[in-house]
Amino acid sequence: MLNVEGLSCYYPVADKEVTAVCNLSFDLGKNSMLGLIGESGSGKTTVAWALLGMLGDLGGHAHGQFTWKGTVYDFHSPAPWRHLRWREIAIVPQTAMNSFNPVYTIGHSLTEVLKWHVSALGANERSARAKEILARVELDPQLFYSYPHQLSGGMRQRAALAKALICNPKILILDEATTGLDVITEGNILKTVAGLKKELGMSLIIITHDLRLVENLCDDYVVLKDGFAQQPGSPYIKKLFSAMLQIGKKPKVADVRGVPILVAKNMSKSFRKPGTRKKFLAIDCVSVSLTPGSITGLVGASGSGKSTLVNTLFHMLRPDGGSISFQGKTISSDPSAIKGMQRQMGLVRQDPFDSLPPHEKVSAVVAEPLQIHSLSEGRQKDLKKVSQLLAEVGLEPEVYIDRFPHQLSGGQRQRVAIARALVTNPSVLVLDEPTSMLDATIKLEILQLIAQQAIEKRLAVLLVTHDLAAASLVCDHILVLHHGKSVASGSFEMLLQNSSSSYLRQLLLAATDLKGYWRHLDEVAPGCSGEGVGVMIPPAVSLSVAERISNL
């Protein structure tokens, strides 16, 4: 259907030409799905924009040829892009959920596309078509009249999908279209996409760094590294797939169960709904206890109350109910007691690009908690401690200590954040989605580092994540939250055996076997308890991952 031959893309950077993609060739068959995989900066998105003839708008240019319906076109010559774009090839771009103009309704954004590409349609026909396509992507057609801010992230993603599908394209490119969504929302959207592919006879190009999607959905895949396509079976591809997180059993470490150091009992917190007087419970009687040397996983979808619980643990939010005790003492609202507890706790947050002060060098960033808690022992001793910690988290001190955060990659920043969290020798380490924005290989390395630090330093670790696979690999104990309530708690094996809640089953399936998850959704009507549906966990546990973790 589409044949790309020798595609090379270039960007001018500071008087030089940087090659973003080099000599890439691939075929896309009719009604097939092609995965375009690679780490950040490998040139995946550049390929997508080149296919739409829009690289020039991004300041770059492309060379090579593509064959579409028997006609050969050059990437650098003026192909009939106006005709091809959207009517033949459409895209759901990265962060598509933010691509709607906030001052226009969803309907306006959808009909605008038709106005440009199918000018023969009248206003009424355009509206009818827009409503029809909203229904196709399983949205209420009444959302035609809504503004983007009135939709949730998942709904906006579906609306972006509707916008891409409105002209009935033959090829749909999904550029990291579900990155940032929780596994259940992601699974639901991909189910809609797969259904539409079958129904409309489309071909899909899925651009992702999530190998799980490629394994589950794609007929074929191309792996890019630094702009070069990797040969099948190359060491890089092997490394990429071996780093893929799959549900696995956490290897048994020495039994470290002891007296919990931090116990939060029956924590509740409600917020007022914006624009109304109604309140909703963000967390509802949730209890969690952290024991030295063990990792507790806090798992749940977006909006399940994970971050609210973390914020109450750090006293950033005052809970409506419940109590926190630390080292056996109940922490009241006394500021000195709170500060004493905060000194014993380290925090690593989700976004590595936002969690470090941009104007300070790594040495100052890591040493900062020492100053906050007046634990500094002089510049030289602090620097020595920082160097030692950087080495422990896998960064060479002499290379990285004088760098600024913007000179580090996402994974390196997360390592710096972990070093900072450990500088005060805390007893508790809380990690809020520490790997959700990282590439697969780096994700695994960071999880290994966390597991290693927990064991070596006998840290009580709370790992907050929506990725059940990550939690299953490193956590001794998992707590599942859903709409602010604790729906399951126990070791991963226990959760597998006693997955009484429908939500837990969905979470397990969506994280492991997308097609199985879709079958589950087909069998269970929404809102139904889902009885009689067994959990399907793939028998293949990634041995390489388990082995690597157990080698810690």
Binding site: T45, G59, M316, Q342, R349, S355, L356, I372
Partner: protein, 282 residues
């Protein structure tokens, strides 16, 4: 502003620095550079430029060139002092409002709004008439009318910095408000404040000239605005004398103001958070 734009701005910023240096040398060495005492009658009134009086004389026979050189003292001194006072006051209020939030923010911001909606020139005239015409009174008048813009912008920037993840992180591990304000928020807002100081200085030069031109400055102080004021009331525009009586002080005002602005534009590159990014997202 990208790194490339910053590079493009560098020659302009250097030009601004040269202009300011020239005026600074003029102001510091005025007694050496000026051929006459600007307050003394040293020639015939309304003399044309000659070897003895490079820019001729004014209506009472004072040397215009000497007035111009001494005028740089007032314009430059007033610009710098006003910029420091107005930006300092505005930035302090902006920092407090943005950081503390709640009622303090509401009160400060409503005062700011009030100042911003008042018509600028009538307010300046009224204040100048009420407070008097001395140098420090002028500084006060110009500061009072120009702090509000800085306060508003600094407060907006503080809100932005306050919402950053790393600030939340530091709060969670026990950093107090004073620590955060001093160590991080002020540092992130500082480039913006520096840029605004330059803009305020540029504006102060223009406002002082406007007030003096309208006769609201001190007639005994030699400033470029007062030279223009006397030129205007003695009908210099009706004779050829505007060439040496109006154009030199006019150009001096324009150049000094532009000098501050050119440096300000360069500093804006640092005030802009996107400045360090030059990478392409592939």
């Amino acid at each position: 502003m990208t790194c490339e734009n910053k590079k493009k701005q560098l020659p302009l910023a250097l030009a601004g620095a040269v202009i300011l240096s020239i005026f600074l040398i003029m102001a510091i060495f005025a007694p050496v550079l000026a051929p006459y005492d600007p307050h003394q009658r040293v020639g015939l009134p309304f003399s044309s430029p000659s070897g003895g009086h490079l820019l001729g004389t004014n209506d009472i026979g004072q040397d215009i060139f000497s007035e111009l050189i001494y005028g740089s003292r007032l314009s430059l001194g007033l610009a710098v002092l006003t910029a420091l006072v107005s930006t300092g006051f505005g930035a302090l209020l902006g920092l407090v409002a943005g950081f503390l939030g709640k009622r303090v923010e509401s009160v400060i911001m409503r005062c700011t709004d009030f100042m911003l909606v008042l018509p600028f020139l009538p307010l300046a005239i009224l204040l100048a008439a009420m407070l008097g015409q001395g140098f420090f009174q002028l500084v006060l008048v110009i500061s009072v009318i120009s702090w509000a813009g800085t306060a508003r912008i600094v407060r907006a920037q503080v809100l932005k910095v306050k919402a950053k993840g790393y600030i939340f992180n530091l709060q969670a591990i026990g950093a107090g408000p004073w620590y955060l304000l001093r160590k991080h928020i002020f540092r992130e807002v500082l480039p913006l404040i520096t840029y605004h100081t330059m803009l305020s200085a540029s504006n102060a030069v223009l406002i002082e000239a406007s007030l003096s031109f309208l006769g609201l400055g001190n007639p005994l102080l030699k400033s470029w605005g007062s030279i223009l004021y006397y030129a205007q009331i003695r009908n210099a525009m009706l004779t050829d004398s505007w060439l040496w009586w109006v154009i030199p002080p006019g150009l001096s005002i324009a150049f000094l103001s532009a000098g501050f602005l050119l440096i300000g534009f360069y500093l804006e590159a640092y005030a802009n958070p996107r400045v360090e990014r030059g990478q392409i997202d592939a």
